[in-house]
Symmetry: D2
Subunit: 386 residues, 4 copies
């Protein structure tokens, strides 16, 4: 197989999981601008996600968020998904929207609240059993707003205890993906603020606990690709929540703010052997202003383009320049790949996959956007609260 | 008058305006945790604000937010305030919560939306006429989320045009306070992102246009006291929106995150002749977790403490050390004032003003907190949407 | 002329000024790693700069730094430059390396030190008269390290006074370019820390005073292209000091850290009518690890590539999408240009200019690098101190 | 023992190690401003450090930096120190100032350079054997400036190998303190950029490897006290390099930029049981502008004041408020301690220790500053290069 054929082959196997909640309404604390045609049920979210997969060919699974996607019959929901050409993916827990969680969930000073939160997490594993999901994604909004508000170290103890209980409950092929976040919604301490904290907890829990890197959850200037390389070296990279940012956790389309950074991240993934099913590539974005389905298609394409460029890096030439201490030469090898316009290559890949080479155009021509605006009238639009 | 007497005298004249909306519910995009006893009407907000003034003696005015505080009869609202011992303060406009403003208000590409936004601003001046308010505080959520989304420069032209029209409408004793903000809710460009932009617009508008410094609206590491000193030197500091932050626009209690920074800001205010009624000292905070009225009392006290320390700086000794190039000596003069415990002094000031020396204790003992929880049952609690 | 021909034509007129000091040694406070073959005299710097122009065709002028490039006969230096195919460009002042400047130069508390600093600036204008340079670039290291160290506002007064005196001395076709910098070497206040401060001073001085944007001199997250658009709108953008950064003022090769940002900046330049001789495009970089001449060639090429992409933006399609509120469509128009591989176009441009299409290869094949290593033996290598 | 007596007792046992290099000249990449009277030999540095201990009573040890403090006879140097009332402390390695280290030391692509670097580290342990030092402090300037320059993961492998070799060499009572740093002098990747990386390496090495927290080595906004609490919980906090910063690694006097942060850090130290000899409290500062000895005295006093406040926190009241979810109450307990003026208490402590209550005044009156200016004439002043 020629090298280009290998690149194409790899691109065809790519899988980017899209999140059910990105199809619903989202916004900022100032305002949620509702969009027409937004799904009102988990099923409608799956329909939209299926469209993304239909036109990109590389978005075969859909992450659920509990309780936002709660249904009575998850097996039926799984069948619904498969009838539409997609599968259910990771289960995302939610311990931040109940009134009890004002001062935290698994780190709350009150044992009863912690109990409730752990109960929710265990329920999520039950749902995984029902859906066949292998990944439990844990993001905790826990933290404090004011110095002194709670004891930083006690909260770590409580966190460790809760995680251990959930870890024990995991089945054979299930794992827990622990996400870290620099800040928000907590504004002084966050209980899992950085990769080091997530790593330390996962290490103690065992091999089924892995770290998730959300690309928007770092301090300004943080070198994310370094973290990716390090976690892969430690065997602890469970996956990504992709999005992009200029400031804080802006949750913009991945690749929109800094496409070079996305490329560097994907290069470390490829170089570190992370381009495998063991590393989950998920989106976690908010399309506050732009149309949601095309924004998600665009995001998937951005990941594809960054991956294609990463795969095109001439690793041999790079290694030679690096070993020789040729700073400019090594940098040039990397930049050559980044500066390549990979869109023609990806069009070919799509055609070889039996897809329209232009996913956005094809989606637009499909009329789906108009159809859902016309048909999804009444009911309660999905959003972060439902 | 001895120096200490002068400090006390100055502290007694201090006036910190509290914002009506801080008495209502607030939160993050993830969740608004409602609190019991929160006001349901502008009148109830004024009642709460009156309590803050009753126990601190230095919070005599209340900022209104339109449309959140819209009433049919502003004159009656003003009388209601005065009956409770406070007065109506600045009028804050809101051009970010109408569906039309998804892509901006005064900077929107569509002239009809701009027209609507300007109409709202002019209405705010009408309300000022009715309330006797002198300050129109303008904060625009305008901006873009994606590169290319709109033309950066055209938006400045539109902004300038809108501001000019509103400026023309201002009465003799009215002024416009233009606020800047680094980011949020816009995540790529913000149309008034920094003091330079606000200054440039105000300069062209004329003397009735002044810049407002919100202490939470800066890039990481920004030296805010430098901006304060510069704006005072330029005659363009209209006032403050006080709050504090560790990360972004966290809107925590002023002085909670970095009391030394607040002291440095107040020192530049004092040094630059800004401790006058021409500079408005306002709070703009969100009490997402903590009880609102005591949080606001605490915030007012924090401003008082920083002011007391700033007034206590030995300016003569400082100037001598500065002129002599004595780096450590000059720093030591400033730190001496900061390290002073001014709480006993403020207790004295309060007693001399006929107040309880312990505002938080007095509030707690007053039973107001329990009373509003018991009485404010039913209705729609005030929040950012109402 | 077809559109592509117009783009090519514009690219051929591009002029990027390279700084004499970038050919000398540089480093961090921890270590300056000397490189072999580095120039020892202003003449040797010009020889190297001439090579950059010889192979790129778009680096016709060289900025001087006084006193690092002090010579007895500037007319002779100018002839030397022209004999080598380049011209002398902006004169850069230096008021940060004399022992007297420990506490500042034009802002120093001691009038005698200020006098000395102004004297140096006036001498720089004398040198401009001799070299025919039109631009005096002013960067002040002035600031303080500790709160209280000096009076923030007095320093502004001193700065204004010094600038006014130098402004008065400027000749008919001369102008002053005032640079701002967020921090370093001062660590508490910097006397010209942001574009707003530089703008306010330039505005008062008059039309010959313009602001310089050094792309590495901003707070984390600052939207530099917004500043560019704003300064162009105000008629106050004098030029750029290009470099790139991941953290602070890293002074890496322009385009190396965030090529998308450089593109966005160049897009605002083009859109705002700034792609003219009135806006100076200068490099200000440190090649601490990499070979200097090829690094500068690469930097010039990076600017060319960003410019080519900016010129390729379909402005009509962009404006249509913007006016229509099509967030994704407008963003896509911009990204289409950025995602284009413009290297083939630039190769054509170079061939049409009679140049080798591959500047780095041509430089490498020229043997200049080996020649200077072999010949420049002995003497004092140029660096930031000499 | 009353509580206050216990606080005083703890304060009397405090030990802050001062670094030999802080007594020498330092500066920025722009300029090192030499000061009169600066030491020229390791012995003179010890003399100055002895003065700091003489007047503060809590700076009994002095960190050495190899090769800056290289001597032929370390036993003699140790005796010299003891004759002056101090002891030799941690040994700091230096693998960043040899020309071979341009592309790294223990992470360098060339095995020969790595060998040399490890050789230096082993030599440092030899010196520890001679001086009786128990701590080897390792800070690596290793990293890269450009994407692609070297392989991120290979560099981690090399780092791990080098650390393991040095770890094996450690004696019974010796340990290795691994420092992390966000950036500088490397501007793209740093090989130990954060606590997580240092922690992961130390964990694998074993109990003699501990993490050092330099308070200036974090991304903007990082919550350092959280890291302190976490490392203490993990049993991996080896010590501190204290200094303060507004921007990057400014290396200002500890407590000068954010005294509240220093207090919060010391509170977590106290709360986490870290106020013991197992956690080393060291300064690592640059006194570029201010007189060095008084600056270091001031820094030691700042640490004392923060410690005193931390010890004064009413832990019982705090825990009660925290357990009760009383956000404002818990914060108030912490702030009460911070707002306390502990200077009178520290004056008492000093008097009880037989010291002048005013260390800076006593130093000033001692005439030492004038004496060294008068006597230390000629020779080569100590600085970062010697």
């Amino acid at each position: 197989m020629t090298e280009l054929a290998a690149v194409k082959s790899a691109l065809k196997t790519q899988a980017v999981e899209t999140p059910s909640w990105a199809y619903g309404n989202s916004g900022t604390r100032f305002k949620v601008f509702a969009q027409q045609g937004v799904p009102r049920t988990p099923q409608e979210k799956l329909e939209d996600a299926a469209k993304v997969h239909e036109f990109t060919g590389v978005a075969p699974t859909v992450a659920l968020h509990i309780p936002w996607d709660k249904v009575d019959d998850y097996a039926a929901l799984g069948r619904f998904a498969e009838e539409h050409g997609v599968r259910l993916g990771a289960i995302n827990s939610n311990t931040f929207q109940d009134d009890d969680y004002k001062l935290g969930s698994v780190c709350h000073p009150d044992a009863a609240v912690r109990r409730k939160a752990v109960g929710h997490l265990l329920e999520c594993v039950d749902i995984m059993d029902a859906t066949g999901s292998t990944d439990l994604k844990l993001w905790f909004a826990d933290g404090t707003n004011y110095p002194g508000q709670d004891d930083v170290r006690d909260r770590q103890d409580r966190l460790a205890e809760a995680l251990a209980e959930v870890y024990e409950r995991l089945g054979e092929n299930q794992r827990m993906l622990l996400e870290y976040k620099f800040f928000e919604p907590a504004f002084y301490t966050t209980d899992v603020p950085d990769w080091g904290t997530a790593y330390a907890h996962c290490l103690k829990l065992g091999p089924k606990a892995q770290v998730v890197v959300d690309t928007g959850h770092h301090a300004p200037g943080t070198n994310i690709e370094f973290i990716v390389a390090t976690l892969l070296r430690e065997g602890k990279l469970g996956g990504f929540d992709f999005n992009s940012r200029f400031y804080a956790d802006d949750d913009l389309m991945v690749g929109a703010a800094d496409p070079f950074q996305l490329f560097r991240i994907m290069y470390e993934v490829v170089r570190g052997g992370g381009f495998t099913p063991d590393v989950a590539f998920m989106l976690d974005q908010c399309h506050n202003l732009e149309a949601k389905i095309p924004a998600i298609i665009r995001s998937v394409m951005n990941v594809q383009e960054a991956t294609a460029k990463a795969l095109l890096v001439d690793q041999e030439a790079l290694a030679a320049a690096q070993r020789g201490g040729d700073v400019l030469g090594a940098n040039a090898v990397l930049m050559d790949a980044f500066n390549t316009d990979v869109r023609p290559l990806l069009r070919e890949v799509r055609e070889e996959m039996g897809l329209d080479p232009d996913p956005l155009g094809a989606y637009s021509r499909s009329g789906w956007g108009e159809k859902i605006v016309a048909e999804r009238i009444g009911g309660q639009q999905a959003g972060w609260g439902a």
